[in-house]
Symmetry: C2
Subunit: 598 residues, 2 copies
Amino acid sequence: MTPKNPTTAPTLFDLEAPVAKKTKRTTGAKATKKAGTTRKKPAAKAKPATGTRRRTSAETMASRQREISVSEFFTKNRHLLGFDSPLKALLTAVKEAVDNSLDACEEAGVLPEISVEIEQTGESRYKMSVEDNGPGIVEEQVGKVFGKLLYGSKFHKLSQSRGQQGIGITAAGMYGQLTTGKPIRILSKTGKRRDTHEFLLTIDTARNRPDIHDTKIAKWEKDHGTRVEIEMEARYQKGLRSVDMYLKQTAIANPHLTLHYTDPAGEKVTYERNTKELPPETIEIKPHPHGVELGVLIAMLKETKSRSLSGFLKEEFSRVGTKVVKDVIATAGKGLSEKSYPSRIAREEASALHAAIQKTKISAPSTDCIAPIGDDLILKGLKKEIEADFYYASSRPPAVYRGNPFQIEVGIAYGKPGGVGLEVTDEGRIRKKKNSAEVTEDLVSAADEPIRVLRFANRVPLLHQQSACSINKGVVQTNWRQYGLQHPRGALPIGPMAVLVHIASVWVPFTSESKEAIASYPEILKEIRLALQECGRKLGTYIRKGKRLKREFEKRSYIEKYIPHIGIALQEILDLSDGQRDDTVETLEDVLHKSRKF
Amino acid sequence: MTPKNPTTAPTLFDLEAPVAKKTKRTTGAKATKKAGTTRKKPAAKAKPATGTRRRTSAETMASRQREISVSEFFTKNRHLLGFDSPLKALLTAVKEAVDNSLDACEEAGVLPEISVEIEQTGESRYKMSVEDNGPGIVEEQVGKVFGKLLYGSKFHKLSQSRGQQGIGITAAGMYGQLTTGKPIRILSKTGKRRDTHEFLLTIDTARNRPDIHDTKIAKWEKDHGTRVEIEMEARYQKGLRSVDMYLKQTAIANPHLTLHYTDPAGEKVTYERNTKELPPETIEIKPHPHGVELGVLIAMLKETKSRSLSGFLKEEFSRVGTKVVKDVIATAGKGLSEKSYPSRIAREEASALHAAIQKTKISAPSTDCIAPIGDDLILKGLKKEIEADFYYASSRPPAVYRGNPFQIEVGIAYGKPGGVGLEVTDEGRIRKKKNSAEVTEDLVSAADEPIRVLRFANRVPLLHQQSACSINKGVVQTNWRQYGLQHPRGALPIGPMAVLVHIASVWVPFTSESKEAIASYPEILKEIRLALQECGRKLGTYIRKGKRLKREFEKRSYIEKYIPHIGIALQEILDLSDGQRDDTVETLEDVLHKSRKF
């Protein structure tokens, strides 16, 4: 395909035709209209552009160069933040507020109790209120937390949390302000004997900073907590991608949460917590040497307070001990020693050091920085949510991408396929399960829909952009045919199944700032596939067993049908009494079930 | 699904079981291992978390709150910028540099001549050099243009350009620096008698500003231009998503460009320009009133220099004349008049004004801000690229999303299906087309692959994230079955076809900063579908005609087979000479072709 001619140029358009023809729009020549197209001609004032006429000089261009405020950038690109449609906007705003509340409560060691309320305030306007019993926010920080993009406490540390970017809640407020002109209202109280501060603020997008309209001391019966209210142009709707579904799935993944929800119709729901234990406190970790890029290493060498290379390696990284230091420095060569002064290490030496780190065996990152949900709770969640015949959960050991530890957990629920709903009793009899009376062949062949994929990242349900997500890719790339499911190429498998996948990580790589899908780093995709395969194998065994059970059940039913007739025949031949005949029939049935092994 | 019970709480986990069981990771109780899973137990040092113990106070949290530099943000999230894999990184870097060169040349009115060179510098390292004959960059701006994210001239104006965010080339440099530690090298010359400035710079990511290492006057034979060199960790590979393919498609969409390319093997290719006319200079426009959100309107009212509402509306917006002003103000009410002083208009009045604008009929935005490729050039490009039997191009009239004008152009190339490759001559004969001798039935049934979609935004080819792109969605959502193609539900249609879709807009809404896919705004999706339908109808006619032609061709061949025998029979019966017989046969054949209408 690629032209190889070095000089005469393989032109892509062989245009020997008059130039005017190609540039009719430019020269204002009459355009030959195509039937059916109604394209307007350009306004005649568009001047003809000749090849060499200077339109703008470097100086003029320079005068137009300007800094772009990050808030302006995201206002213009609000779809990057999940605010592209009124329906999605409401979900995104609630999600950001609830995620923040959960993070704050867990960090403070408070059992979270969160109230979410959605109220319709106009034809296409809703007000969202999210209130928590978290630690509150100190007065001086409120403005920045809610009124400045890229501001937060979670970005600079490596530990598992829901928020990580310092964008979410400010973006929600910005969207509210953009569509209704109204400020965010915030209540915050940091302790029993402290004041409740009320704030009304907007975001100064040109300067990316809060614009505080009003602040006063309010009355609030809470001991401590935060309340956020944002009014916005929105649409409310129930369904798979609704606020309701998000809250329900949040309760699944956060069993320590008590959640009150009032929907726009005034309906109230409470999801009570099921445990009084918070998830384990996750430890903040130092970066793992294998995940550090050369550029980052150079920057770290420059900024470290360590006064020796050996100290630097041990203090700034995790999993580096005396032996690793020795190995790395020996491999690096270039005159580097344990005593080399970090900030004097030049690029070439740093490059050798970087290469040496990659070559040295270093133990995997510590994993107490990750708090998975756990097989147990995943199974319970699935059983509660999805009526099925077979459940299984599987966790992978923690792994690493770009130096960031992460862990994949998978649960599956498979239900009501042909022949399943049968079980073998202790006596070797095959019988219908009690709870699967409704299993019919019809239901099975009706199960011709793609399976359902439930995605979670750091306990947050992901409801949008499924096809762009590595979780979805992992499911699609797994060969489900070998586990007994239909599986069209390049699509989700077909069958009565739900798959739940949770990624817990100190840094979840989302595909956009709206945090809706996970980027396909190869390490992550691999772990997802491995966990799915583990579940798939168990599923395959179950499905095959179900099929065998069904065949055996049919055979035995067939034989059983004739046993009474044999009984009657024997009664006649051997002149048995009715009691003897019944005993014989029973014996024959017993023999049938004992002799036909399953 | 949604629990409705207001008080007793529909618990999602009915956990009456001992709490220890659910929190085994926390309490350190022995985990019951699942067969086949090898999850490590958490390190014992994770302290048990009790429900109420305070881990961190609001004050401690406040002390951790920090500003996040936009460069740090994108370094950590480099997949957002298209630098998630070494293969993609090389393409993204070349793309950003070439896009900038094209924008600069067009803005300056210079016919672009661009050289791209990729050189392997290490096992997994490549150096990319892109050189143009553009206007150059004034010395003082070089640092910021290449060393500061969110800095540029294209963000704040509404006019069609390739770059728009002020991120791209700096991000490429940042990636190079991150993976190799090496600075970007830049040459710039703004005029014949001016100096060539050479810069070596890196990006100070913590502060988002350039760090200029070295600058000197260099020798350069060019009159004016810019050259960028970035070395990075990368992988080079030919194929559908390669640098080669990007450059080839760029040449298709930019026929005024001469492009020299040297690949890592030293192979040189030149794509000569086919026209000496630049695309029409696109006009910078003012926002259209219908696309302005309330929040933006309020900010504009605050910042305008106009001293009356009527002046404000006329000066700050496009398409607003005296009549529109009168209508809007009358509809708004709230005591607003033409003389109202803009910055004194309160939120409530602004809100009424906003609603009034939405209700008032205002002519569509002017369209000279958009420079489409044109049906003509699209057809020529397709014909050059793709060997097919049928080509068609269709443009939609300009439309608007969120106040931003855009225009959709579509071209299709359909090739070598069953029965096509036939044509009707002037005499009504059906014969094989000259250039489709190789058409066989085999080829047709082999065409069971999904069609190929070529995506362009402001003349830039998009090679990644196809499934997330609204262009792809538009193709999938169009019902191709009615036009004679196979079309599996929710997937691309099947057939020997390529579809090219170009969106030209003053602001292309990309789904991420890497500009790989277009967000699915309903207005855009609708225009894409309408343009595709227009092409589809023509395609349908063609395919049906092809099928009819084929049937007719078979029928006639069948009849023709017997005509000589009829001739012989007639010769015998009527005692004709050989000449008369041949004349009769010829007449019969003529009659056949004339009587059987097609």
